[in-house]
């Protein structure tokens, strides 16, 4: 056994104190710059916070990869979803003419928009890959209205930090930070491969978040709300995913 000198002991003590203080300061800074995910608690919290924080810094201005038209998958695969319910069937029978997107929360002008309203607010199309957390993927052209255009039209307030979005299918809801909400490639998609967005792929309206895995791209969007905290939504973990054991942030 080696003898520990007093100098070494004091040195280590100081280093440890500095380390703890440094970590605490880093935590405060990370919180302030939005680098801490809503599901930062528990045993997986440290790893998840590292992943989210580092990727947020790394992807501050990055665009998801876009592909040439020739790479569009001839046979895309849609995960089968349970029937979204009777209300959905009624709207579908009417050709989704009565589909409404409700926009509320921290906005100056809460309101509801029809699909035609949305199409008049802006259009962007991009050929991106959608990848499932399971491992499979396909490439498609996604056509829609940038979410940022809708938020701008509604007059989103400066204190908003997250945009939560809800499927007409009650169990499905999610949220994203401003980095993704204001991102030019984040679409409220209503078209796919030069046609209407098929119901199997989320039609009439799907949130497309191309820098994250497929489960962030929720189908059948009926409501979008801006908020400064995810505490009041569900169990406060940011989305339905962590309640089912999956991470809120799906960039990895």
């Amino acid at each position: 056994m080696k003898r520990i000198s007093r100098r070494k002991l004091i040195g280590s003590g100081l280093a440890a104190t500095a380390g703890v203080a440094g970590l605490a300061a880093a935590g405060k800074l990370a919180e302030r710059y939005g680098l801490v995910p809503p599901d930062c608690g528990g045993v997986f919290g440290p790893g998840e916070t590292l992943t989210y924080g580092v990727q947020r810094v790394l992807t501050a201005h990055s665009l998801a990869r876009e592909f040439p038209r020739s790479m569009i998958s001839a046979a895309p695969f849609a995960n089968a979803t349970d029937a979204p319910g009777a209300a959905f069937d009624g709207l579908r029978a009417g050709g989704f003419a009565d589909w409404r997107l409700q926009v509320d929360g921290l906005v100056e002008r809460p309101g509801t928009y029809s699909l035609a309203d949305l199409k008049g607010m802006g259009r962007r199309s991009q050929i991106t890959e959608i990848a499932c957390e399971e491992g499979w993927s396909y490439i498609a052209e996604w056509i829609g209205t940038p979410l940022t255009a809708v938020l701008q039209a509604a007059g989103m307030k400066a204190e908003a930090r997250y945009v939560a979005y809800f499927s007409i299918d009650k169990g499905w809801w999610d949220s994203m930070d401003m980095g993704d909400a204001l991102h030019p490639q984040t679409l409220l998609a209503w078209g796919m491969n030069d046609g209407e967005l098929p119901v199997g792929f989320g039609g009439p309206l799907r949130m497309r978040v191309p820098r994250q895995l497929g489960y962030k791209s929720i189908k059948y969007i009926a409501r979008v709300t801006a908020t400064d905290s995810m505490k009041g939504f569900g169990k406060g973990l940011g989305s339905a995913s962590p309640e089912g054991g999956y991470a809120w942030y799906a960039g990895m």
């Binding site: 790893g47 665009l63 046979a75 695969f77 957390e133 820098r211 999956y246």
Partner: protein, 224 residues
């Protein structure tokens, strides 16, 4: 001592990464080459196991339980721990001269003859004894793992992140696409598992308990 601490930390990380990685593969035990791949497309190969998703046609008529949620959380947390451990090991290895002194083959060891001499020792199953230095085969294996397979694992893993790919698109493009990166991630895992099996077999061959004691307590080491 740092080599021993980082070794055992890596063992824990590797075990966690392997178990969770297998769980994630079970949700889609098909592998493809190129950018895209799904059940509507022809796979490169398919693992003969049941899946945890009913949408994957495995032919087993049995759907395994979904363990992807915690597996994904733990996979990335263990990956962070492994990377941070690797950084400590890497910096210390350069600083202390461990790489240069213990891992880089010496001048006389670069010839086929020298490699063959060591291999012949193994083939004749001669007792290794209390070796103080790594032989050239050990050096080559450890170098390949530390500077080849470990970085390849991180690279192919990061290439599977759509966010990372948006910032560093060439990381996935030079691998031949997202599905190629996933398949390579699987192959490199296989190579690491082969290394671990051989490594443990060699430890047993050299005397399991004496080697374990040395690797845990450091007794038998020349110096700290």
């Amino acid at each position: 001592m740092l080599v021993r601490v980082t070794h055992w930390a890596t063992v824990v990380c590797f075990a966690a990464l392997l178990v969770t990685g297998v769980e994630i593969v079970i949700s889609h035990p098909r592998f493809y080459w190129g950018e895209t791949g799904n059940v509507m497309m022809r796979p490169l190969f398919t693992l003969p196991i049941a899946s945890s998703r009913g949408t994957v046609p495995t032919g087993y008529g049995y759907v395994m339980p979904d363990e992807n949620g915690w597996s994904r959380y733990l996979h990335f947390e263990a990956a962070w721990a492994a990377v941070l451990t690797g950084l400590v090991y890497g910096i210390a290895g350069v600083w202390s001269g461990h790489f240069r002194r213990d891992l880089l083959p010496g001048r006389g060891e670069w010839s086929w003859r020298a490699w063959w001499a060591v291999l012949a020792l193994y083939l004749r199953r001669e007792p290794a004894g209390e070796a103080r230095r790594y032989n050239v085969l050990q050096k080559a294996a450890y170098l390949a793992v530390v500077f080849g397979l470990f970085p390849a694992m991180i690279w192919t893993g990061l290439a599977l992140s759509p966010a990372f790919d948006s910032a560093v698109p060439w990381a996935v493009d030079v691998l031949g696409g997202r599905q190629s990166a996933r398949t390579l991630h699987f192959f490199v895992t296989g190579a690491l598992v082969v290394f671990v099996v051989v490594h443990v077999a060699m430890v047993i061959h050299a005397g399991f308990w004496s080697r374990m004691r040395a690797m845990i307590t450091g007794r038998g080491e020349e110096r700290e």
